[in-house]
């Protein structure tokens, strides 16, 4: 009986991921279009790979599954919290050393030279904050539109984590939370920037998300 329940859960999770994958494909495409308008450059994007994990699954799989590993080194993390119909936090995570190239693409101005690749000016932070805001709003907002819900946002913020382990510790501090992971890759001219989007959800919101997704599934598959 437990095995059967587990199989049904797995199947539900697969369908949920399939629907989310489609929703995020659309929203990442829109985010790329927005970035393209800012940079006046064509942006190629790689289709995101969506993984939905409970807090416990994330902890147990993180050392075995390479797709769950964060890039090594310093990370730049842009975060926006959301509440109302769903409650959680969306994090856009990129390796900090790539962000200097990205900021240069945004401003067209040679970046200030720092001895350390993880040093940034206030202007750099402002740019990443605004880009993060636009990308995360597109992803979370389009998810809300597809699910027929409205969310409220906090002010976006950007933080530097000196080691990926610090960020992992930060997002894993509450075991009960579920997480949606999207691997994204933007290629702007010759520069490829690989990142990960973590959408942390409270347990109640995770259940609500499944409920909303099953409603969509019902509408499409009867």
């Amino acid at each position: 009986m437990r095995k059967l329940k587990g199989r049904v859960m797995k199947q539900q999770n697969k369908i949920a991921c399939d629907i989310l994958n489609e929703i995020f494909n659309v929203s990442i495409g829109k985010a790329a279009d927005m970035l393209s308008q800012i940079l006046h450059k064509t942006i190629r994007l790689r289709v995101p790979n969506v993984i939905l994990l409970s807090g416990k699954e994330r902890l147990s799989r993180k050392n075995k599954d390479s797709s769950l590993k964060l890039p090594d080194g310093t990370l730049m993390v842009s975060t926006i919290s959301f509440s109302d119909a769903l409650e959680g936090k969306a994090n856009l995570v990129f390796p900090a050393d790539k962000m200097h190239d990205f900021i240069y693409l945004c401003t067209g101005e040679q970046p200030v030279s720092f001895p350390n690749q993880s040093d940034f000016t206030d202007i750099d932070f402002d740019i990443i904050n605004e880009i993060g805001n636009i990308v995360l709003n597109s992803i979370i907002g389009e998810m809300g539109n597809s699910l027929g819900i409205t969310l409220s946002y906090s002010l976006p913020e950007v933080q530097i984590y000196n080691q990926s382990i610090d960020f992992s510790h930060d997002i894993e501090s509450e075991e009960c939370k579920s997480v949606l992971m999207l691997s994204v890759s933007f290629t702007i001219e010759q520069t490829e920037i690989k990142g990960t989007i973590f959408i942390d959800l409270t347990s109640a919101s995770s259940e609500e998300l499944f409920h909303l997704l099953s409603r969509i599934e019902g509408e499409f598959f009867g």
Binding site: K30, M34, Q37, I38, C106, I123, D126, I127, N129, E130, N133, I134, N137, S138, G141, E142, G144, N145, I149, T150, L151, Y153, L155, P156
Partner: protein, 126 residues
């Protein structure tokens, strides 16, 4: 001369938006504010023809600022937001604003805005 007041907490976003406003309204003057509270102060000081404002801002949010401006009987408000949610757009549009535009400003959206402000169809040759 047309006067704009551009309110956004991101300096980067203010720069992008100001460049587009200057491109389409070369004779216009632009005042800047970095949050809703400063926006209201600048509004009282400069009496702009149009306010272009973000929604998600510190101190006083864009939505609260719109309510305050509406109470001052000012309606020429253009919202420029990263928020793509239909529910939010409907809620803000119901407050009686001129336009709700998603970030970033682009030639496409500026042409729509230009036509709204001028009350005419945009001429592609501009």
């Amino acid at each position: 001369m047309m006067k704009f007041l551009l309110i956004d907490d991101s300096a980067f976003s203010r720069k992008i938006s100001a460049n587009y406003i200057r491109k389409y309204f070369p004779d216009a003057s632009i005042e800047f504010a970095s949050d809703g509270e400063m926006g209201i102060q600048k509004f009282d000081q400069t009496h702009p023809d149009y306010v272009i404002a973000d929604l998600l801002m510190p101190k006083v949010s864009g939505k609260d600022m719109i309510s305050i401006l509406k109470k001052k009987n000012f309606h020429n408000i253009i919202v420029l937001s990263a928020d793509v949610q239909k529910g939010i757009r409907q809620e803000i549009e119901a407050m009686g604003i001129t336009a709700f535009i998603n970030k970033p400003l682009s030639d496409e959206t500026m042409q729509v805005l230009y036509a709204k402000i001028k009350g005419t169809r945009y001429e592609a040759a501009k």
